[in-house]
Symmetry: C2
Subunit: 430 residues, 2 copies
Amino acid sequence: MMRTRPLKVALLGCGVVGSEVARIMTTHADDLAARIGAPVELAGVAVRRPDKVREGIAAELITTDATALVKRGDIDVVVEVIGGVEPARTLIRTAFEHGASVVSANKALLAQDGAGLYAAAEEHGKDLYYEAAVAGAIPLIRPLRESLAGDKINRVMGIVNGTTNFILDKMDTTGAGYQEALDEATALGYAEADPTADVEGYDAAAKAAILAGIAFHTRVRLDDVYREGMTEVTAADFASAKRMGCTIKLLAICERAADGESVTARVHPAMIPLSHPLASVREAYNAVFVEAEAAGRLMFYGPGAGGSPTASAVLGDLVAVCRNRLNEATGPGESAYTQLPVSPMGEVVTRYHISLDVADKPGVLAQVATVFAEHGVSIDTVRQQGKDGEASLVVVTHRAPDAALSGTVEALRKLDTVRGVASIMRVEGE
Amino acid sequence: MMRTRPLKVALLGCGVVGSEVARIMTTHADDLAARIGAPVELAGVAVRRPDKVREGIAAELITTDATALVKRGDIDVVVEVIGGVEPARTLIRTAFEHGASVVSANKALLAQDGAGLYAAAEEHGKDLYYEAAVAGAIPLIRPLRESLAGDKINRVMGIVNGTTNFILDKMDTTGAGYQEALDEATALGYAEADPTADVEGYDAAAKAAILAGIAFHTRVRLDDVYREGMTEVTAADFASAKRMGCTIKLLAICERAADGESVTARVHPAMIPLSHPLASVREAYNAVFVEAEAAGRLMFYGPGAGGSPTASAVLGDLVAVCRNRLNEATGPGESAYTQLPVSPMGEVVTRYHISLDVADKPGVLAQVATVFAEHGVSIDTVRQQGKDGEASLVVVTHRAPDAALSGTVEALRKLDTVRGVASIMRVEGE
Ligand SMILES: NC(=O)c1ccc[n+]([C@@H]2O[C@H](COP(=O)([O-])OP(=O)(O)OC[C@H]3O[C@@H](n4cnc5c(N)ncnc54)[C@H](OP(=O)(O)O)[C@@H]3O)[C@@H](O)[C@H]2O)c1
Ligand SMILES: NC(=O)c1ccc[n+]([C@@H]2O[C@H](COP(=O)([O-])OP(=O)(O)OC[C@H]3O[C@@H](n4cnc5c(N)ncnc54)[C@H](OP(=O)(O)O)[C@@H]3O)[C@@H](O)[C@H]2O)c1
């Protein structure tokens, strides 16, 4: 059965992920060969700094000329773990043009131009796999694309950023504020020096775009994803959440509208009940909850990042792509046949938890309730607390369009008796 | 892109699962066609009772002659959802011989003769897929076989039987005894009239054999799986578990030995810490926890049974097999290249929680401790409770070979001062 000519792999990037890919390819070469049906050989490794010591990688494999490597013509699979849009995109396109299939871990690029890359792969009859781009080691893209291919997915809701989950978990368990928890995450290496991409939700938004596209067989661009970061979540919000039997998570939520005619994708902090499977996802773990018509409620849980977990996902793809090559076949390409429109955030139907500082005098609740009613938003519960002429009002609504909810908040701000809106948070997961 | 000649599917069995497969194939025909690249047509449905009303299925498709259906020669894919070993096995072999690929949900058959069926599939260049055979709707077989194909799996530990999880969850949350919880499960349709296959662990053992084979790329026969049911778990065991910060689950555990040279597979009730992700799997849900060298700790969660969840898994396989057919390719076949021996239960390294009724007199603890020491089993904690000349001793051990642990228990039974061994339970998941 075993073919003796090895399949040649070009590795673009040899950083956190790439170095682990190279290591496993070397140490587990026999296993990979047995699973693929042919040996795989590391044919070249492109990096920026050629002089850096790269343990276990023969010096003659290292090059700074990634373009020449992918143009060699004898490369079977290009593994792109450089990151960022360029030069990664051009390198991947060049790889297809020169006969290679591609495995990538690049969420930024996939979210930005997945459609263009799929089209290039298809034009050249090559594979494009990217399991590692979303939720690191967790098998998610393949289950969504293949295991659930006979089902109809209605919702994907996930914790897809480990850094922010680590921060929120710390805030939840220790009562720390945002900055303190962020400092700890940075000290422990969970947050980068510039944490913007994580804490402002950009990373999660890229993943939401990818997941929504796959789940609903449509195209969702990065710009279609509503995004709110988690830098304004406070210890007080966690205290409110606890009183409701909830915790707070930064969620990526992709939903099919009730009528099935449109979809939405969004990233924002939200309260979820402690009984929800996502509530117990601790530290930097990721988890994605999927609701499908026939399958019901599924959850996928695991490490969302890190060199070796991400390399595991890359290598799973590498095995599949190599097998496809030996079979002279390709795996499933883009599936965007439904062409569903992506609705704006205002059309999302959700619930709000609103905390108001109000004047402590009679009639305030009636005034506030009137504003909700005028916007067609029905109130689930109200909790009033007063002392020394100051009072706070915590309102939890029933489900309503986000536009009606935010319209309500705007109108509340204008009331004389409302001194301030202390916090607004969506409530999900029921 | 779309081919117009439909792919023909023969459905063997139209019960709980089969009727849902037929329903979804009809109601979601357009989606399936788009995902496959060709329409799929239900070409025939084999049942035992031809006169039963089958909603949504044209009467002329129904036949009692399953053999003739699979021999027709124009069938692309046979979906086997009859269950049991025969006639399912012969029908599947006949299907391969007559040019069809096969999707099956039959854990009993796969556990019994997976190797034989794989060989038949390979001989005829056909696919054998069976995602639905383990953990119903949860994508598990595909992630293990494909997503983790580049990784090394060291342990698979799962709740793979919904009936027993429902019973244990009831016992845990309501304090009910086994019989009472079983009665409730039966009344709600979670347990069959004869619950033996579930409560004695036979169903879970079949799944453990399948999972161990896939995870470790070796062959594990049903007889290789150690099996203990959960009918003797008592309310007192749950009380003890709670005192330890644990709950009790019926677990299927497949492990690679520390030296990597052998594997084990077993099914038994065990205490697991409440902090373990499997501890919070409620009701009839299933979940499988996977530890892989590079990926780390993953968990897959969802409904483990039921007509439509199981049909979702069957249809995911159907889409894959149909796509393979259009590509004139096949998916991965059996991977058993490691040929690792399966060690007996005695070699499993685990921990015991042992509850003893002892005489309430000085020196008993010393006597008991000596027995542990003589068997090379180190004690983690001891809790002593005495009243009115009666006393109980609860011992939790460190990790030791199961043979040493059971030898210890045997020797304890022989001590004069030990009046009885109230319960023994393994402790897992740390
Ligand atoms: N790290 C994770 O946990 C994780 C998780 C999921 C997905 N990902 C994705 O995986 C990809 C790689 O991430 P990473 O963390 O491994 O990044 P990294 O540690 O920064 O490594 C990037 C690598 O690319 C090389 N490189 C940069 N520009 C290059 C160029 N123009 N030509 C050739 N090589 C170039 C660098 O070379 P030098 O070594 O010479 O600097 C380095 O080896 C990204 O798309 C990321 O989003 C990462
Ligand atoms: N039910 C679940 O939740 C679940 C979950 C996972 C896996 N599975 C697996 O799925 C398979 C089917 O389970 P199920 O619950 O759907 O079983 P079921 O409801 O008992 O249905 C069995 C079907 O097979 C037909 N049948 C029986 N013997 C036959 C024969 N000799 N020739 C032709 N047809 C025959 C029956 O015909 P009649 O309709 O005429 O009686 C019935 O339609 C089993 O392997 C099971 O282990 C089931």
